[in-house]
């Protein structure tokens, strides 16, 4: 089960960074991202990464930034959790 603790904050950042205009409020941990969300392209993915870094005060290791981390909202939460330590 993906960690749910960060979910609300991640959804807020996701919504703003991808300009989803509130649609992220209907997402849950199982919502698919990569390939399912038209707003998520290579440019906005990098903006999302940067926004998450600023919001959570973290610096992702570029080796951890893989497609699998962006498959679902839950996998993204896991990456942040892991980076937060």
């Amino acid at each position: 089960m993906p960690p749910m603790k960060l979910l609300p904050e991640v959804l807020t950042v996701l919504d703003q960074a991808l300009q989803l205009e509130g649609r992220a409020s209907t997402f849950d941990a199982h919502t698919p991202l990569l390939g399912a969300l038209p707003e998520l392209d290579s440019m906005t993915a990098v903006a999302l990464i940067g926004a998450l870094e600023v919001h959570f005060g973290i610096q992702f290791n570029d080796h951890d930034l893989q497609a699998t981390a962006f498959e679902t909202v839950g996998s993204l939460c896991e990456l942040i959790e892991q980076t937060l330590g």
């Binding site: 392209d41 440019m43 930034l65």
Partner: protein, 284 residues
């Protein structure tokens, strides 16, 4: 509302297109040179930068926007661009804005960088042949502080592209050790010279310059307390340069995608921050 006037001026390697927004009311209260974001981010920022330039010229500033060589409507091709060439272009633009006169106390000069344009501003300020920089201030929109950080962003775009599509062929990815090759990043051809220049552009000591106004746009809420990494950068600035102020404004990621999203809070905060005299309290 003032309107911009297109002009061509001579850059390091050829003509560059600028748009000058003259100060409303005649004599400018100061001069602002915009140093644009790079590649796709420049296009994404263009609309908001133009809106801000108009607001600043209405507030009495003389503002010059320009396209770096190989971008927008300036001469050359992106694949010919080099880091040192862009630094020279920025110097030529500053000379054009100031009519080759040195900045004075009466009319402050601001370098207004967006994203990688901030790294270029620091490169310009650190260059010994630049104009006297002690009177130059820095306005930073969502800054990247070094060429290395710019390159990291591009590498991330390249990596993200491979998540969405078939992985790029090896020859199409950024080789870190082949300075001569052209590589494609997010649809832009990156010259060996530009890549090498970016790699060599490490975070540098802050030159002894004037004020820093740093405006970040955050995905969630407004903030006045900077994050930890931001605090460290601010401390580096104040140790060497002048006063530094940071604000986080809730708004869209305007540098990441071309959209019609407006960000009036950023334009207002920009005009307010620059309106303060150099000795005034920082914004926030």
């Amino acid at each position: 509302m003032t309107t911009g006037r297109a002009l061509y001026f001579q850059g390091a390697q050829g003509p560059l297109l600028g748009v000058l927004h003259p100060a409303a009311g005649g004599r400018p209260r100061g001069h602002i040179l915009h140093l644009p974001a790079f590649a796709e981010e420049a296009n994404a920022c263009r609309r908001l930068v133009s809106q801000a330039a108009r607001a600043l010229s209405d507030a009495g500033w003389s503002v010059l926007l320009f396209d770096l060589r190989g971008t927008g409507d300036s001469g050359g091709q992106f694949k010919e661009a080099t880091w040192s060439g862009w630094t020279d272009d920025a110097r030529a633009a500053l000379n054009t804005l100031l009519h080759d006169r040195a900045p004075t106390n009466d009319t402050p000069v601001w370098l207004w960088g967006a994203r990688g344009g901030v790294a270029l501003a620091l490169e310009l300020l650190a260059a010994p042949q630049s104009l006297p920089t002690a009177l130059c201030n820095l306005l930073a929109w969502q800054p990247l502080w070094s060429g290395q950080q710019v390159l990291q962003q591009w590498q991330r775009v390249d990596a993200a592209r491979s998540w969405l599509h078939a992985p790029s062929p090896a020859s199409d990815r950024i080789p870190v050790d082949d300075a001569a090759a052209i590589t494609w990043v997010g649809g832009y051809p990156l010259s060996g010279g530009l890549k090498a220049g970016l790699l060599a552009s490490a975070p540098k000591p802050v030159p002894p310059v004037g004020r820093l106004v740093w405006l970040d746009t955050l995905p969630t809420a407004d903030a006045t307390d900077p994050p930890l990494g931001t605090q460290r950068q601010l401390a580096r600035w104040t140790a060497q340069g002048g006063p530094a102020a940071w604000r986080g404004l809730a708004g869209p990621s305007y540098w990441a995608s071309v959209s019609t999203a407006n960000h009036p809070a950023l334009i207002t905060a920009t005009a307010q921050a620059l309106q303060d005299t150099p000795d005034a309290s920082p914004p926030g």
